[in-house]
Chain length 193, copies 2
């Protein structure tokens, strides 16, 4: 007993956990009030199995939150926010975030954030800090518009990502949506010519 703190013996537990986590992300991204039965069905497991991995609904929601945060962290690292011109680095960040797909929609959902009690949310993530650092650098470098404050630029980045993702959902090409997103991002937060 008590062996289930980390990875389990067979690895089957790990796979099931991932399936529930991914299904939960996808389902709750589209409808934050979806029932656990819906999540279970999407994950291809029984409803009791979900409760076996996440005792309460909030446990699942929290786990999804942690999972998404990890994905964002990894994506931020991949984008190497401290390399090269700030605007270029910001575009790399944008591209990496765009690839997160459904996980994006979770972040924008306020009714989800409302049920997030957990500590890791209030305080800034390492990724948040890295992003803020990047934008600050760009404003000092002169490659980002100094008339826009850091928070605003970050929020515009996220909102453009959201719109682009919506467009992708709407049937447009990922490439097309991302192109529009990057182009608009450059124009909006870049230095006015």
């Amino acid at each position: 007993m008590g062996m289930d703190t980390a990875v389990s013996s067979t690895g089957a537990r790990a796979r099931t956990r991932r399936a529930i986590l991914d299904a939960g992300t996808a389902v709750l991204a589209q409808n934050p009030t979806a029932s656990l039965a819906d999540v279970a069905a999407a994950a291809g497991v029984g409803r009791t199995t979900v409760h076996r991995y996440f005792a309460e609904r909030s446990d699942l929601v929290d786990a999804i939150g942690v999972d998404v945060l990890e994905k964002i962290g990894a994506a931020t690292d991949r984008a190497r926010p401290d390399d090269g011109p700030a605007l270029t680095a910001l575009e790399r960040v944008c591209q990496e975030y765009f690839e997160l797909g459904e996980s994006l929609a979770i972040i924008f959902d306020e009714s989800m954030a409302a049920t997030w009690n957990w500590a890791s949310w209030e305080e800034d993530t390492e990724a948040d800090l890295a992003l803020a650092r990047l934008v600050d650098r760009g404003r000092e470098e002169g490659t980002l518009d100094g008339r826009l404050d850091t928070d605003w630029i970050v929020q515009v980045l996220w909102s453009l990502l959201y719109v682009a993702w919506q467009r992708n959902r709407g049937g447009d090409t990922k490439h097309n949506a991302l192109s529009l997103c990057l182009y608009t991002l450059r124009k909006s937060v870049g230095v006015p010519t």
Copy 2:
């Protein structure tokens, strides 16, 4: 019997209806899953009174949707989308929409839109058409960026409004938030210099 199709005799009914509608907009904008008891409390009426005006929850939600759509229509008219340079007109639209306040948040909520069955949503509103017309005109005039298609520009407008409204909620001045919004809007959808 059957006299309640339009405005009631005393006008007290109309006032109560408005109170519920406004409270519903405010409450559901912040938490789409709020109970009708919450709405009733916010409106300062009894829970049964809410049911007297809107038999089912969906009836209230639909009514709020219609109400918001009317507000958007009126705001669009006030902005005179067909007058003057397109970019300037678009800024006027942005200002008018910004004034809608909490009603804005309702529109962006997907879990709310998910429960919207009603016909008026799928088909474009007169305001939608006017806005599309305005953007089209701007792209032909050359005052809006022709590399961005009409839908994208409209969605960017809405998303900037959303970000600005969030900022306003976060304690910033309305004037400040709106300024950033308009400035960014000009840069993103205006012609590249």
